[in-house]
Amino acid sequence: MRQESERPQARTSDLVVKEVAEELLVYDLARQRAHSLNRVAAAVWRACDGTRGVAALGVAAGESGQAVPVEAVQYALQVLGRARLLEGPVDEGGLTRREVMARLGTAAAVALPLVTTIIAPTAAQAQSPAACLQENEGPCTSVSQCCANGCGGANCVCVFSKDKFRCVRPTID
């Protein structure tokens, strides 16, 4: 759990950030992971400028003069850290979501900060070439060798890429 003396700093490098309705989407270029931050988590993350302790973060992230409870800020820092969206080492310990909910009370559940890793729906992945990729063991010398090795599904074609033939879905946008 973060000490009051700590001054968390939000990561700014290698991130692509996009605000959409009620949430902040963050793509981590270094780790190639996408996250969705709900409003509370996004407010705490944006307030992490390296000068504020936990209590001050709660005030800075609050809305309409209502500070975010300290427990919620602690939990936000924990989940933001695990998502590697804060500078410095990851805080592995801390509160569980259930414990935070119990402390905040069910009525305050709306104040629960959430950071969700975005996972592509299974079928959506099929749109990318990687999903139908059946790379051969080694480079082939002809397209027929590649296809003989298993590329022949209804949606796959053989292409020459990265020094070898590979089985991919054609992409035409």
Binding site: L25, I118, I119, P121, N155, V157, D173
Partner: protein
Amino acid sequence: MQHVTPEWTGGIIAQVLAGAWRAGGPPLEVEPEEFQRIAPRLHETGTGALVWWRVRGTAFADTETGDGFHQAYRLHTLEAELHALRLTDVLCRLDAAGVDALVIKGWAMARRYPEVGLRSYTDLDLIIRPGQAEAAKVALAVPPALEDPVDVHDGPSRIDALGFDQLDERSEAAPLGARLVRILGAEDHLRLLALHALRHGVFRPIWLVDLAVCVEDRPPGFDWERCLGPVRRQREWVIGAIALAERLLGAHVEDTPAAGRARALPGWLIREVLRNWACDTGASHPELVFDALIARRRHPRLAWAEVRRRWDRPIEATLQVGGPFNHLPRWPFQVVAVARRAPTLLRDLRRTITSDNPGAR
């Protein structure tokens, strides 16, 4: 239980996407089971974000299937940001190399949707001035490696009848971050998108959505004569594609040359598009015919499927032959299309024989 045919699946896809690009589309009259059943296909077609846009705020949004579309929306939204960064990089490289480029399709189209993430795409499409392909290739090969595939057209000759200078003269500037990007004029882009969709059998539903967006969002003073061009057959094709967008997706085409044309579209055309949406017939065939057949020689079913996939493309055949979209059967057009490809097929056959038997002459 509903008997599922490709036309049925394609029809449900059409219902889900109808008006999806508008702020207030028509009510979604699809059963939850139908919605769930076609969800994987919708994801595959790259329309997941658009479907979320359509169902958000409805009972469908709170289902597990709806959550999958929400995830697709988030992913495509972030992908759009990444594409914009990568396109900036690509254009900076081309600028530095003195290459003139016009951005088409993907990014140039996505910017016209209510949110750029609603229109997914995988590569960056550019038309460059003819003769600059080598310079472009060198500029794009400079490290670090590009993370998006770039489809560079060496001049527009393979995709449009107009020359680069004409398209460039009629092009517009669009903001991309801190810079301006040259994109096709609204008229030229609509024509290019319509013909591109037809040349590939309209196998992606998003292509018809593109046409709907272009027509409904066309700027004041949109010049239909400029869009359709002087060639009668091409005018018919473009109008036919727009009429398809009305027929299948409910595009508003009043006050356009396509008004009232949807009812006259031939049944084979509608069925073919719906079938393509249901089955993913694939795009072009970079793999050569005989290579493909030889590779599948031990799998008769796959070989037969390959023959059918290459033959059974009435929309492409009609365009290749320069035919009309009328009610006549398509097989004569398909026969002529194959006959016209005969020299290429012979070259392909000779190449396949010699590459499999290096000693052969």
